[in-house]
Every structure is written in structure tokens, then in C-alpha cells.
Subunit: 435 residues, 2 copies
């Protein structure tokens, strides 16, 4: 056997926006290197776009561009399909059809995988072709491949990721410059980091889809986007940021997939997205600006962190290109990298989650308040690790960090605290990451 | 095609020290998970050890243990060979024989690959079997797989790694606790991080072998250990550490592989190991203790960092296990992941390297010294970015950071400075990493 003989592989690209045009450019730039190293000639033979008239900064030969994506999938000259349309339909239909035709698919579509991944993975394994999706989480960061392959049998305990660059940019601005949430968001919008309607980012939907993909790959179990508990960052104020800093923490929006137990032989997983207080000396704390990073804890491997650009045309295209070369090489050798059998997981309800908590409340500044407040914590079995009073008079606040407690008990504590006459308000809680 | 039918794969392990026994234990712990996810039953059927009587904390069935490694390789029941002996011979002979027999090999042997990698990679591709070596660099960190696969066609500019945990521990102790070099080394030895003879670690030989492997994989070109310029950390004093901190830098021992140009179509690479001043806000600066990390800069992907445990039985065994599952699955499907064609590289001599430099010199504390010193810099075309005088009288020192200059010009400058009557001594230089 030898791979020295060159082989032409026809590539069909669905969608030619930011990532698609970067991919076409990168393929052209690296054509010689790819051929020299792998023996593959990757030719972009068909590109489906929504409108054929838009200018895209890429030069394509006559007949390559089409507005009919189905014709790209079925074109006999297309050996590998790259799906960069995003969203559920028509992406789902197109990817399914490609797999049924025995064509490997490379996709960056987190929404599709978070909702229909299990079906598509099964379809790929049944057809014996690759379905690769490195670019769906963490942009250019090699994450899916290490989780699927390097850590295929690692006893993973927890994966925590900063997987949304928009919110990390906003939180970094708030932390480093004392910017308020709305100003930081406007700043992110003006830089093109945030959409005009920022909901998908700031309310954690984007990170939630990624959390479900991470959980699926890290634990080899089906986890749908709908199983992911989700809170965004729109409720984080300058006070929270300042308290966190004083206490030695940084607030980050984390996507967390964690095995918390085992139920009837199935892993019990807590999969969630929420802002969290990350200790200042934790590797995730220094992930600033719009960078992404994923921190993996395993029983054998210990601690790992994978860091890089989570978005952007060229970084994302780099991840797509790595997958494309893999898929093309596998196709040439008549093989594929199976996703493997996904098992069932039991999803741990957020109420059962155990964590340390940060609670910040506005109180009346008078004797006896702490005793009343501490009594409520005690009644619910929530023990306090540290307490600080901040401000005086109208500005008086108590800031607590609890020991590990269940979300249920802490929420019940908050409920009762809100009834206390001496408590003027409890804006909410933040979960604290312990090392 | 389907991978649902289970398949038994016989594993032969050469060497059962720290990593080997951790691997055998991990395989046993994860047997059910591996079978469920991949359909593979990995059975350790033969283990070669130096002495059969030593206790190794692993329980092996009768007949598994042998002191004859060649019999493991040739055993028809062994489908995949794991080489954990280390060193050149007999590892080279055993690995070569396994590949010739068409058996995939997983190895953690950096020395072997840094010196004979090109031959072995070619032998593996000729035989059409896997030669996987994730554990050879960065212990448990997924690094080789991302470089080989995810970044197969990435236009990589530079890879900088903290790839030796011993020296990173020593430098971290010196930086964080003001410990002197010899005390920090003794501390590392007492914790088992450093050997009784620490030369391979502290003089950069270990990192040098890893640099050659990184360069080979990142640039797809043959780079032997002998082509790597190498300096260790034994000359770093508390003064250098203190100056670095004051100037906003941290001193790290870096393995660097960098494309500096192109000569007749071949990449011109500077591959080197030396202590360097890393800016305090660079992601590598926060890699403390005995952790490893590799920072990758590519034209498309931007900046990446892969961080984790670079050594230790369980983390290294985790990397070996990932490779083993990959090799076993590929063997089951009758395929392999080719290393691809390695090209020639031109090695850039250290004299031609361009960098910023830190230079610390002892001077007489009297007027006119700076003018004399600055004159020498100017004569060699080395321009100065910053200068500080430190100490007075007998303690007077000048600390310079230069703009980018060639090593040749800076070394010539140092030579002339040592001749100046007003300069009492120039202990040396450190290269400064610019972002």
C-alpha cells in the first residue's frame, strides 16, 4: 500500500459566507503543501450560495457557483461535502442526503449537531463515511478531535469551556475596564463580535448548543441541546465583577459538562451554561478578550486546556480544512473514523447540582441582620465559607461564599432571604468553580 | 460497513515501568468503556520487562510477562506493539521489526524519533501501518495529533513549547519564591521531578529532542535532534529572574520551531531550545509548576495553546491509550493514518536568528560608561529599546533590551563589550519573545 500516488478529490461547499470564502482561499493558498504532504489534490468543484450575485472575495471558475445546494450534494464530481450553511433546515436534509450517498461530510454547524447529532452520527457510521465537525465548537481550536480520539477512553470527569467569544469579550471589558454590561455589549457590536440581536450569545444559547456537543463527545453519550441548563450574562453587573475581583475570582460564562454519578450503568451528567466565578489562578481565568478555551479534567490525563480563536473566518476555516484533509484521505483509502456507539446518559437536574455559591444581597445596615441571614442559611443546611459586609447605610450589602451545597437548598435559602424584613434585595447567585 | 461487531486486539507492551504499568492498569479500568464505545477488546497478551521479578503494581496473567522483547514483537497473538523502553537500542530494532511485520506501533520514545524518526515514518507508510507517538512530546497533552491532522495544511509560522516539566518547575520556584537555581534543582530532585543527574533536563537535551519532533510534524520536514540549537537553564541566576520580573517578563525554557524563510522551495527553519524572556501577558507566561504547554502560531488559525501534564505515568499512559485505540481501530478496518511525505528543510544557523535580546552587564559606576557601551551597540547596528541602570558602585549594572537584531551582531557586540575597560563583566544574554 502506498499513498504516494496523487489523487484528485472533488469538494462541494454549501454556503460561502465568512468561513466558506476563507476556506476556498486557504485551499488555494495551501494547494501545493497539501499535495506534497498528503498526495491529495483538493478541488473545489461546486459551491452553493444563497445569491449568486454577491461579491465574496474569492475567484471561482465558471460553473462552480450555484444557488441549488441539493445539486452540489448529488453532483457525481463531489466526493466530500462541506456544510457551512448553519441552522437546521435545509442543512439537515442536505447532510443526511450526502451521508446516504456515501459522501463524507465536514460541518461547522453546532445547532444541527446539538439537535440532530445522534441521528447524523448513526447515519455516518451506517454509511461508513466520516462526519467531522471540529469547527462546530471552539472555532480553530483542536477540541473535537482530541476528545474523540486522544481521549476516546479517558475517564473524563469534567469539561469546562469558554466557548462563546462575544460574552468573553464583554466580560473581559467589564473586568478590565470597569465597563458596564450595556456599554461592553455595544462595544462588541461595533467591533462585529456581537450580532445586532445578541440574544443567542448573551443568553447562552450558542454556548448551550456547544455544551451538548462537548458532552456527547466527551462522555460518548447522547445529550441534546434541550437537556442543557442555561443562564446568560445579561444579569451580571459591575458590582458582581468588583466583588469577584476582590475575592480573587474572575466571572466567565462557562459551558460545563460533568459526570456527577452513575445511574443503572449510565453516566449521570450535569450539562449547563451559566456565568461562574473562576479562581484567579485557574488557567481559564487568564483567557481574555474574544479567545476561547476548554479545560478538561480526567482521572488519568489530569488537567488539560486547549486555547485559541473560537470564531472568525480564517481560524474556523483552518479547522474545516483539517477535517477536510482527513475526510479526503480516508475516502481515498476507503475508510473512515467511526464516531462509535453513543450510550444513554441520565441528565442531572440543576436542582441536584452541588456547587459553591456566591450570593450578594442588599441589607438594612443595623444590628442583628447577619444573625437573621445566617439563621436562614443554617435552616437550609447551607454552610458559609466567607462573608463580607460592603458599604454602609443605604449601600449596605452582604456578600457570601458558601461551602458546597445543592442548588435546591441554595434556591430555597434565597427564597426565604427575600422574605426577611432586613433584606432589601437578593439580586441572585453565581456558582463558584472550585479546583 | 459497520464497526458494531466486537473484535479482540492483542496488545504487546515493551517495557513496564511507570508508564507501562499505568497503561496496563488504565486498559483494565476502561475495558468496558472501550468495548462499548469502539467495539474493540484490547487484551494485553505479552509484556516485556527487564527483570521478571520486580514488583510493578499490576497483575498479569501467567505467561504474559517475558524478558525477551523480540518474542513479544514476533508473537502472532500480538496485533499492536506499544514501545515504552526508551532510548535508541534495542527500541529502534524492535520498532522496525514490528513495522516490517505489518504491526502498528505506539511509542513514547522521543529520543528514538528525534534521531531515527524519518526512517521509521517511512517504514510505517511503506508497510501501511500506524506509527503513533502522541506521548513522546508533552505527556498527556494532545499535541502530535492536532499538529499532524487538525493542522495538516495550516500555514504554521512558529511553535513555542514549554516541553520539559523539570526545568519549568525549577524556573517557577525561582520566579515565585526567589529560590536560587541549585536549591530549586535540589527541591525538584527531592520531589522526583528531576533525576540525580539532571543534565538531560537542565541542559535542554530532552527539550531539544522534542523540538526536533515538533518541527518535523509542524512543518512536514525532516529535522534531526542534531540540528537543534540548544542552551539550558543552569546559567540563569536570581538577578536575571528579578530583572525579567521588573521588566514585565517571565523566564521560561522554550523549545521553538519557526519558519524564518524559504530557500529553493524548502522551508527555512530555526529550531532551538533556550531560556527566553516571555512577556507577562503571554499565555505561556502563566504555565507554572511542572505543567507543559505548546503555543502555536499559524497564518489561518491564529494563536493556539495546548496545556497539560507533560509527564507522569497516568497522563502519559492516557496519551498512549488514545493512540492504541486509534491504531487498533485502524487495524480492524484495515487502514492507517499516513504520516505523509516529509520534505527537506534548510536549518537556519543560530547566528542568523533575528530576535530581541536582554543583556545584563556589570559596569564601573562612573560617567561616560553608558556612552562607551552604547557606542559598541551602535557600531554593530544593534539598536536599544530600553536601558536601566541598577545598583551603585560595586553593584552597578546596566540592563538592556534591544530591538530586533541578528544573533551574530549581538554576539559581536558582547565580544567588544567584554573588551571595554569600564565593563567588568557580561554574564550573557537572553532572547526576548515578542508578540
Amino acid at each position: 500500500m502506498s499513498v504516494s500516488s496523487r489523487r484528485r478529490i472533488g469538494v462541494g461547499v454549501l454556503g460561502c459566507g465568512n468561513v466558506g470564502s476563507a476556506l476556498v482561499g486557504l485551499l488555494e493558498e495551501q494547494r501545493t503543501v497539501i499535495a506534497k504532504r498528503t498526495g491529495l489534490e483538493l478541488d473545489v468543484v461546486r459551491v452553493a450560495v444563497r445569491s449568486a450575485s454577491r461579491d465574496r472575495n474569492v475567484v471561482l471558475a465558471d460553473g462552480v457557483l450555484t444557488t441549488d445546494p441539493a445539486s452540489v450534494v448529488s453532483d457525481p464530481g463531489v466526493d466530500v461535502v462541506v456544510e457551512l450553511i448553519g441552522g437546521i433546515e435545509p442543512a439537515r436534509e442536505l447532510v443526511s442526503r450526502a451521508l446516504k450517498l456515501g459522501k463524507p461530510v465536514v460541518t461547522a454547524n453546532k445547532e444541527l449537531l446539538a439537535n440532530y447529532g445522534a441521528d447524523l452520527y448513526a447515519a455516518a457510521d451506517t454509511a461508513g463515511v466520516d462526519l467531522l465537525f471540529e469547527a462546530a465548537v471552539g472555532g480553530g481550536i483542536p477540541l473535537i478531535r482530541p476528545l474523540r480520539e486522544s481521549l476516546a477512553a479517558e475517564p473524563v470527569r469534567r469539561v469546562m469551556g469558554i466557548v462563546n467569544g462575544t460574552t468573553n469579550y464583554i466580560l473581559s471589558q467589564m473586568t478590565e475596564h470597569g465597563t458596564g454590561y450595556h456599554d461592553a455589549l455595544a462595544d462588541a457590536q461595533s467591533l462585529g463580535y456581537a450580532e445586532r440581536d445578541p440574544t443567542a450569545d448573551v443568553e447562552g444559547f450558542d454556548a448551550g448548543a456547544k455544551a451538548s456537543i462537548i458532552a456527547t463527545v466527551a462522555f460518548g453519550a447522547r445529550v441534546l441541546a434541550g437537556s442543557v441548563y442555561r443562564e446568560g450574562i445579561s444579569g451580571i453587573g459591575p458590582d458582581d465583577i468588583a466583588h469577584a475581583q476582590r475575592l480573587g475570582y474572575v466571572i466567565k460564562l462557562l459551558a460545563i459538562a460533568e459526570q456527577v454519578g452513575q445511574v443503572e450503568g449510565k453516566p449521570e451528567l450535569a450539562v449547563r451554561v451559566h456565568p461562574a466565578m473562576v479562581p484567579g489562578d485557574h488557567p481559564l481565568a487568564s483567557v481574555r478578550d474574544s479567545f476561547n478555551a476548554v479545560f478538561i479534567e480526567g482521572d488519568a490525563v489530569g488537567e488539560l486546556m486547549l486555547y485559541g480563536r473560537g470564531a472568525g473566518g480564517r481560524p474556523t476555516a483552518s479547522a474545516v480544512l483539517g477535517d477536510l484533509i482527513d475526510a479526503a484521505g480516508n475516502r481515498q483509502r476507503g475508510t473512515w473514523t467511526p464516531i462509535g456507539t453513543l450510550g444513554e446518559a441520565v441528565i442531572c437536574p440543576i436542582d441536584d447540582l452541588e456547587s459553591e455559591y456566591y450570593i450578594n444581597m442588599e441589607v438594612l445596615d443595623r444590628p442583628g441582620v447577619l444573625a437573621a441571614v445566617a439563621g436562614v442559611f443554617g435552616r437550609h443546611g447551607v454552610s458559609i465559607r466567607s462573608m463580607e459586609q460592603e458599604g454602609l447605610g443605604d449601600q449596605a450589602r452582604l456578600v457570601f461564599i458558601t461551602h458546597e451545597a445543592t442548588e435546591r437548598d441554595v434556591q430555597a435559602t434565597l427564597g426565604d432571604l427575600r422574605e426577611l424584613e432586613s433584606v432589601r434585595g437578593v439580586p441572585g447567585l453565581l456558582r463558584v468553580i472550585s479546583r
